[in-house]
Symmetry: C2
Subunit: 201 residues, 2 copies
């Protein structure tokens, strides 16, 4: 994780209105007008804050007709915090150690792929350990085109190349921020948003 990411994560949480917003969302999804009313601010203010929270990947959005529903991104909420301490303490180490870590991660990654994928490139089964699951999901999702939108049917077909349980995997793609859905179409998220095992303890 680089400096800017850490800063924008903390900036996102460094505001009373935004924190109250997250508390409200902990109850379940809400749209902009509802939030504005409960928070005692104008809808425009909610848009502004939503943008900040989105940049830090702390919320998800779902469009239905002309209203946008916000919800918590539990994954980032839990994991970004630990990343800060990592950043501060690891920052003190020499470059060499970081590179050694990168090498180590590549090794782990390769071994996970080798273990969970057949020679023909099929997924044997979905790993249950989060770390391994993320590696496999990233591997699969890399087969999709950046910037292009897909119908649900297309996505299902694509996933079936790897595994029959396309519903589960499609859901995991969304949950871990590899893709997002908008107006019934699916699209890859920018890579910086992808949930990566490197950021886990």
């Amino acid at each position: 994780m680089q400096l800017d990411k850490v800063v924008s994560y903390h900036k996102a949480l460094a505001d009373t209105t935004r924190l109250r917003m997250l508390v409200l969302l902990a109850d379940g999804e809400r749209n902009g007008l509802e939030l504005a009313e409960k928070l005692g601010v104008t809808p425009a203010t909610v848009t502004h804050h939503a943008a900040k929270l989105r940049e830090a990947s702390l919320i998800n959005e779902r469009r239905e007709k002309n209203t946008i529903y916000f919800s918590l991104n539990h994954y980032f909420l839990k994991n970004s915090a630990a990343a800060t301490a990592d950043f501060i303490y690891r920052g003190a180490n020499a470059r060499g150690e970081l590179n050694a870590m990168d090498a180590e991660q590549t090794k782990i990654r390769d071994s996970v792929i080798r273990n969970f994928m057949t020679k023909e490139g099929k997924l044997k089964h979905i790993p249950s350990q989060l770390k391994k699951k993320l590696i496999v999901l990233e591997h699969i999702v890399s087969g999709l085109e950046k910037g292009r939108t897909y119908t649900e049917k297309e996505i299902n077909e694509f996933i079936k190349q790897y595994h029959d349980d396309f519903a589960t995997i499609r859901r995991e793609f969304i949950m871990h921020q590899f893709m997002f859905r908008e107006q019934e179409r699916y699209e890859l998220n920018p890579e910086e948003l992808w949930a990566r095992w490197e950021s886990l303890a």
Copy 2:
């Protein structure tokens, strides 16, 4: 933890210069001029940032002659993060659940004291589990007077009422923010700074 605390914690970390400052301190303690030089800012700027970090209890300060040495407060750095998630998720719950938790905590606290203290009020031994250690330390430190300063000798004598290893316990008092040392004298910190097991996972 209340809203303001959470906000000021994140505000403290929501700035590039302050984060770089913490990274430098991860290497060991530094005074203001050193920090200014390494960061490429004026001493005045360092003072400004130190104030923000101090408010969030992320650093400690020690005066020697006329120079002030800053160091990391490892405890808060590690534990404040988890508190944020707690705040967001717990905030959504009803009051009742919080009170139930308070009751539960009191029960645990009493049982720990009963287990580690003799009938005569001596400490059998220092708990190794952080949670339990904090409970015991808070129990002991409560015997000191707020606002009064103590010499090291006085502190040692006081601790010996409970346990022979006064050196270790004195160090723990500082480490967990129950007390601070200034010009060879010891004094209680305000209670809000005390490291408390309730804030642990």
